[in-house]
């Protein structure tokens, strides 16, 4: 016989804030209704911020459960990669290690963030299928979870940048403070990217591998491993540099940290591409949000 239950269900959900509002779900074909529902979805996800935080924390803890040094494998593997590639490529490109390694460490850490955000973002809804079909929760929460998880990973990798900077005594310029607005822009862009790719990826299952290939090509086209200054004497086509959204986004972080002055033109390019991305993501999410539960 199992211990008697005194019929207590004393945790009353109505005690908690915000759960008392009636929910109205209307099938709407107009953009106004759709945008209101999408906006509610996002604000609801923000309200559930502690859940997003715990989910991403558990994701990382789960990945390294049973491992000795746990999440510090993230730091370790990045450090090994930066070190190995740094010494090899500084030879190949005839670069001074002391100036190349700080450049490379920032580039690799930031690019890892971009490539995992796009890869994990395009499966953010299909991977949360169980949760989506079990209860009503804001869909953007699943996107926010992917972004938050990758910010935590980024946090582990920043240690490598700090170490390299300390070893080579690289001093960022005063413009380094512009990294703060750049970080904010990165978070917003990552969220928009995840929402957009996740929605499209839920409907078309070919999207995740396609995104993977595109990001791979972008990696070679974008000055990640190489600095445009290094190859300028070869008369390289500047279109990959000047109009490359990835380059602009990388450079608003990388430039000031490496002691270069703030470049308004690069910021302009980064902002224009970000606005386009946010508008596209908004349209895709508004349009497809009610259907995502059917697709996953």
């Amino acid at each position: 016989m199992i211990a008697p239950d005194q019929g207590k269900a004393d945790l009353d959900i109505s005690q908690t804030a915000g759960s008392q509002r009636p929910i109205s779900i209307t099938a709407s074909d107009d953009w106004r209704g759709r945008s209101i529902m999408a906006w509610k979805d996002i604000t609801e996800a923000l309200r559930l911020w502690p859940l997003v935080w715990t989910l991403s924390l558990l994701d990382i803890r789960l990945r390294y459960r049973g491992s000795l040094i746990g999440p510090f494998w993230l730091t370790m593997s990045t450090a090994v990669m930066v070190g190995a590639i740094g010494f090899l490529y500084s030879r190949l490109f005839h670069q001074n290690v002391a100036s190349y390694l700080p450049f490379l460490s920032i580039s690799i850490v930031l690019w890892t963030f971009i490539s995992t955000i796009t890869a994990e973002g395009s499966v953010c809804f299909t991977q949360s299928e169980g949760m989506i079909r079990a209860m009503r929760m804001p869909l953007s929460l699943h996107a926010a979870r992917v972004v938050m998880r990758n910010i935590l990973v980024l946090g582990h990798n920043i240690v490598v940048i700090a170490l390299v900077f300390a070893i080579f005594r690289t001093i960022p310029s005063m413009a380094a403070f512009s990294v703060l607005p750049a970080c904010a822009l990165w978070v917003i862009d990552a969220m928009a990217m995840t929402l957009m790719l996740g929605t499209i990826g839920a409907r078309f299952r070919d999207i995740p591998p396609i995104v993977g290939s595109i990001v791979q090509i972008a990696f070679y086209l974008t000055p990640v491993m190489w600095n445009p200054v290094m190859l300028s004497h070869r008369g390289l086509s500047t279109i990959f540099v000047n109009w490359n959204p990835f380059y602009a986004l990388l450079e608003i972080m990388r430039g000031p940290l490496l002691g270069q002055p703030l470049e308004p033109r690069i910021w302009g390019v980064a902002l224009v591409y970000s606005v386009v991305l946010i508008i596209l993501a908004g349209i895709v999410f508004m349009r497809a949000r009610p259907r995502i539960a059917y697709w996953v």
């Binding site: 016989m1 199992i2 211990a3 239950d5 019929g7 207590k8 269900a9 004393d10 945790l11 009353d12 959900i13 109505s14 908690t16 804030a17 915000g18 759960s19 008392q20 009636p22 929910i23 109205s24 779900i25 209307t26 099938a27 309200r47 559930l48 502690p50 859940l51 715990t54 989910l55 558990l58 789960l62 169980g130 949760m131 989506i132 079909r133 079990a134 209860m135 009503r136 929760m137 078309f204 299952r205 070919d206 999207i207 396609i210 009610p290 259907r291 539960a293 059917y294």
Partner: protein, 260 residues
């Protein structure tokens, strides 16, 4: 006060075949100019058609109907998981849906971590989460298992955890699918006791079941679903009398009077 208003709701599932689900076919169809036609003639399954009813505090509604009649889809729609293609749903009150035993739990995480996630979803603070963990542990009788990943649980234990979790956070509207009957007899008694306490607290219960006994004992209203539409709506005696063969109906009535 809890209310649940379903107004002229329709739900349709798009049918994407293996190939047409891929981008390849859509791109090819667009290239050959057939996309418009494709969209117009898109094959859909009309899972629910023009369903309307209202539930208010104290209602205990049972769904009966054959497999594929739309009972589970309707429960999912009432929970707000599937958004309808037509009509309007108003949910006034905190909803809990016991739709599948997994309950959206992460089977890699421990029982305690899953309870914590549920608490956070409901907007609980640390103290309330502690309370929730204690309550679920006591009710599900899983004390020593709570620190183990849910994937190591037996299916009965998953059901107990899911049920305890869903009912510990006192919902105003409880939507239940028939899997709850998978529990063992002792647990079923306990579950019924806990549910009855909850329903007595003047909330809404919606139950989908093939068991006439359960419906007779727990519900005061029954809707008979057929082909995605409401075929009959009334008291359990009326609807079950029409739905069940006479001998089974007599049996259910006898069982219900014994239980009462």
């Amino acid at each position: 006060m809890a209310n649940l208003i379903i107004d002229n709701v329709s739900v349709a599932f798009p049918l994407y075949h293996g190939e047409s689900r891929s981008l390849k076919k859509t791109v090819f169809a667009a290239a050959s100019g057939r996309l418009g036609e494709d969209r117009k003639h898109r094959l859909v399954v009309e899972a629910l058609r023009n369903i309307s009813f209202e539930l208010h505090t104290g209602d205990r509604l049972g769904f009966v109907g054959s497999n594929g009649a739309g009972k589970t889809t309707l429960l999912r729609t009432m929970a707000g998981i599937y958004e309808p293609v037509g009509g309007n749903i108003t949910i006034d009150g905190a909803v809990t849906a016991l739709l599948d035993p997994g309950q959206g739990m992460n089977f890699e995480l421990t029982g305690r971590e899953n309870i914590r996630l549920r608490g956070l979803f409901s907007g609980f603070n640390e103290l309330q989460i502690k309370q929730l963990q204690a309550d679920v542990a006591a009710f599900a009788g899983l004390d020593q298992f709570l620190e183990l990943p849910v994937r190591t649980y037996s299916s009965g234990m998953v059901v107990r955890l899911g049920f305890a979790l869903a009912t510990a956070i006192k919902p105003q509207i409880l939507l239940m699918d028939e899997w709850i009957l998978a529990g063992d007899a002792a647990f079923l008694d306990k579950a019924r006791h806990r549910l009855e306490t909850m329903v007595r607290g003047a909330e809404i219960l919606v139950l989908s079941s093939h068991s006439a006994d359960i419906i007779m004992q727990w519900c005061n209203r029954v809707i008979w679903m057929d082909g995605g539409q409401v075929k009959a709506d009334g008291t359990p005696e009326e609807v079950l009398g029409a739905y069940l063969p006479p001998d089974q109906f007599a049996q259910a009535m006898a069982a219900a009077s014994v239980a009462a």
